[in-house]
Structure formats: structure tokens, C-alpha cells
């Protein structure tokens, strides 16, 4: 970040993969479910397929091929299909509902709560996720995330990377785009925010897609801040 600019006022955070480790959380809960119900399933593969179904489903909403559906509903649509494909049968509807809400019970990366607590002292910190408000609220309560505000794409009835989401979030928080910084582990999200005039912090989360995956590679000038965890964001922003 160039030093001649005034500091950001608001930091907004992507959630899935950036703040919380969706993959290991889903695998852990799925495997416990397998034990309890006596059903075999490849939970790592199911977690990956669930997550992989998310962007195409949102894109259908973004292109108008589906009406507005929130992420709980999109997750459920994908899950119903995956339970069939993975041959997982015999679950009660209430159990499927509960499994679908595993996205409300994801564990934070180890540095997340400490880094956010530090950043909160100096900045307004808020979520900026495609997850719906109820999901983000429940998840944040579950994970102990100390947000000043929950902001969701749902408030704008548009999904990231549509510009309305980034610009709408800055406006709701009373900050200009240039005094707002998106913190995310995904270059496409950051690139879209940058195009809207927001500042950007890339946090590398190489384990997001599991131990055998490779992290995103970014150029050293692609974003204002490029670091490995939230404490390093705080350090770079002198918080």
C-alpha cells in the first residue's frame, strides 16, 4: 500500500476460505454424521464438490437464469443433488436441513480471531460475503468473530463479483470505496473490488482446498497488501 494515501476506514472480509476453513469443518462434521448414521461417504470429495457447485449456482442467479436465491437455498439445492450422487440415502429432512447448515458452523483459521480483534481496534471491520445475513450472523457467533457489522451480498440482491456488492458495502458503512479495503484469499474477488476503487489485501490460504492443493499465486504488485495471515494485515496497516 502506498504510504502517501490516507489509511482505510473500513476493512471488509471475504469469509469462506478467507476467515473460516470450510473444507476441514465440513469433513469433520460429515465424518461424525457417518459414524452416527452408519453410512459410508467420501466427505472430502463431497465437501469439494459442494464448494465447487457454489460459483456456478450463483452465476445462474447473476445471469438471471435463476430467481434470487440466498446461499442457504443454493447450498441446499447442491446438497440434495450430491446426496444422490454420493449414494447417501435415508436421512430425515431435518437431518438434511441440519447438514445444510454446517456452513453456519465453520471453524476460523487459527490466526483469524486474534487478527480481527487487533484490526477492530483501529478500523471498522465487517463481513463482505455472498453468504446470507442469517448464515453470516450464526457463523460469526459460532466462531467468535468480533465484527462491527455483518454485511452480505444478500442486502443488494447481487452476488460478488458484481460491483454493486463492493460499492454498496462501502456506502452502507459510511466509507468511500478508496477508504475501504477488501481482505480476501481469492484473486478474482480482489480484482473485482479493485476495479470498483477499493483497496485490496490478499491473504494466502494455501490449505483452503486441502493438503494436496496449491495456493493461489499472485504478482507482487497485484494488490496493496499481500500477506500470509490476519496478524500480518494488522502489522502492515500499523494496527
Amino acid at each position: 500500500m502506498s504510504l502517501d494515501r490516507s489509511p482505510p476506514r473500513a476493512l471488509v472480509f471475504d469469509i469462506f476460505g478467507t476467515v473460516v476453513d470450510w473444507r476441514s469443518s465440513i469433513i469433520r462434521e460429515g465424518q461424525a454424521l457417518s459414524l452416527r448414521l452408519g453410512l459410508a461417504a467420501d466427505w472430502p470429495a463431497l465437501a469439494d464438490a459442494w464448494r465447487a457447485g457454489y460459483a456456478p449456482a450463483m452465476d445462474k442467479v447473476r445471469r438471471g437464469e435463476l430467481p434470487w436465491l440466498n446461499i442457504d437455498s443454493l447450498h441446499r439445492m447442491i446438497l440434495d443433488q450430491l446426496l444422490f450422487e454420493f449414494g447417501i440415502g435415508g436421512m430425515e429432512p431435518a437431518e438434511i436441513d441440519h447438514l445444510n447448515r454446517v456452513w453456519h458452523r465453520l471453524r476460523p483459521w487459527p490466526d483469524a480471531v486474534e487478527g480481527l480483534t487487533r484490526l477492530k481496534r483501529r478500523f471498522v471491520i465487517a463481513t463482505l460475503s455472498n453468504g446470507n445475513m442469517a448464515l453470516l450472523t450464526h457463523l460469526s457467533k459460532f466462531a467468535g468473530l468480533p465484527w462491527d457489522a455483518i454485511v452480505s451480498a444478500e442486502l443488494f440482491k447481487r452476488y460478488k463479483p458484481d460491483p454493486e456488492v463492493y460499492l454498496g458495502a462501502a456506502k452502507l458503512l459510511g466509507a468511500t470505496p478508496e477508504r475501504t479495503m477488501l481482505v480476501a484469499a481469492h484473486p478474482d474477488d480482489l480484482t473485482a473490488a479493485k476495479a470498483c476503487g477499493l483497496r485490496t489485501a490478499f491473504v494466502s490460504r494455501p490449505m483452503e482446498f486441502g493438503p494436496t492443493s496449491r495456493g493461489h499465486v499472485v504478482g507482487r504488485d497485484d494488490f496493496d497488501v499481500i500477506v500470509n495471515d490476519f496478524n500480518a494485515v494488522a502489522q502492515r496497516l500499523a494496527a
Copy 2:
């Protein structure tokens, strides 16, 4: 509250007067401003007039006589008029902006933070105010209010007591109206919420309009919970 109903999931709180003491906060900051700028002004009268101008201004928006304006803008419209009426001149625009944002710097009632912290352990707790998102976010940060989520009438482009605000808040938080409880110091707010199917908790704040005012009088069966502070709300809800 009848004991045969399942407990609420989400508690939403009116803010001005219910959680924070707008009147003494404005008087204190106004008097400090008077000292600094060497201008005399009747700050208690100005605070009361500022607050009294708020409902009529919102009603103009509700009736469509004004376009959608958020509370920061309505507060500013009223303040400009009051500075003229009270003969307060010579303030720079930046000083007037800062004074207008005194609503972002209000002090909580003495029981508020402790009571909310207690209620947060058991329920989702959120704001439900006509104040705009930025105002509520800044105010909550200033006052150390531990919300799970900030919810504002601004998100629905309607003002309380319009039903869209109460119903919209419950929906965003993933709760049915009947599992949502409004906590407020104002019977009209609670009556409107009750008509939407929400549960209601009246908290008496007899000092809201100053030491010579009288508190609201409510009937013992008007609302589900009728108490004197937030710790008593927690006690009644077994939190």
C-alpha cells in the same frame, strides 16, 4: 411471556433511548462545544428539539413527501434549522458535520453492555433502529455494544413503525416473527412489532427525556416482558 411457548431465537433492540442515552450525550458534547467556540446555547432545549424533529421528518419520508433519506441526512436537515433558530452561528461546515455525527457517539445506559453481553450468550442479538447502518455501526463501536448483527430500517428503505422493518429484520436473521422479540423503551414501537407477530419486551427508561420528564406508563398485559433494565430482561428470559 407465557411459559408454554418456545423461547425466542433473536432479540432485536431499539437504540435511541432504549440502549443509549441520546439526551445527556448531546448536552455534554454541546456544552463542550460551547466552551471551545465561545458560544452560548441552551443545549438541553436543542437536544429535545432535535429529537422532537426526528419523527415528523421520518413521517414525511414514510408518506412519500420526502424521498428516501437516511437518518444522518434527516438529522442534518433538522440541525441546520435548529442552529438558525437557536442563534448559533459561525460554525464551519466541518464542525457542523461533526456535531451532526454526535448521534454516532452516544453513551449507553449503565446496564446496557452488561445486559447485552449476558443475552448474547443465549440469543442472537441485533439492533433494529431507524438509524442508518453507518450510524449504528459507529455508535456500537463507540459504546462497546456487543451485537451479533447490525440491522437498520435503512436495509428495507422503510422506517419503523412500518411492518416491513420488523418482518424484514426477523427474516434477515433467519427467525420467524414469533421467535423474534423486540426490546424497546417506546410503547408505539412495541405495539407495531406485536401487530407483526413479534414478541415484545418493554424496558422503562424514565430518564430518556431528562430528569423532569415522566416515563411511559404501560399496562401489565401490554407486552410479554415489562422490566426496568437489560439485566432484568436476561433474568426473565433465563439468560
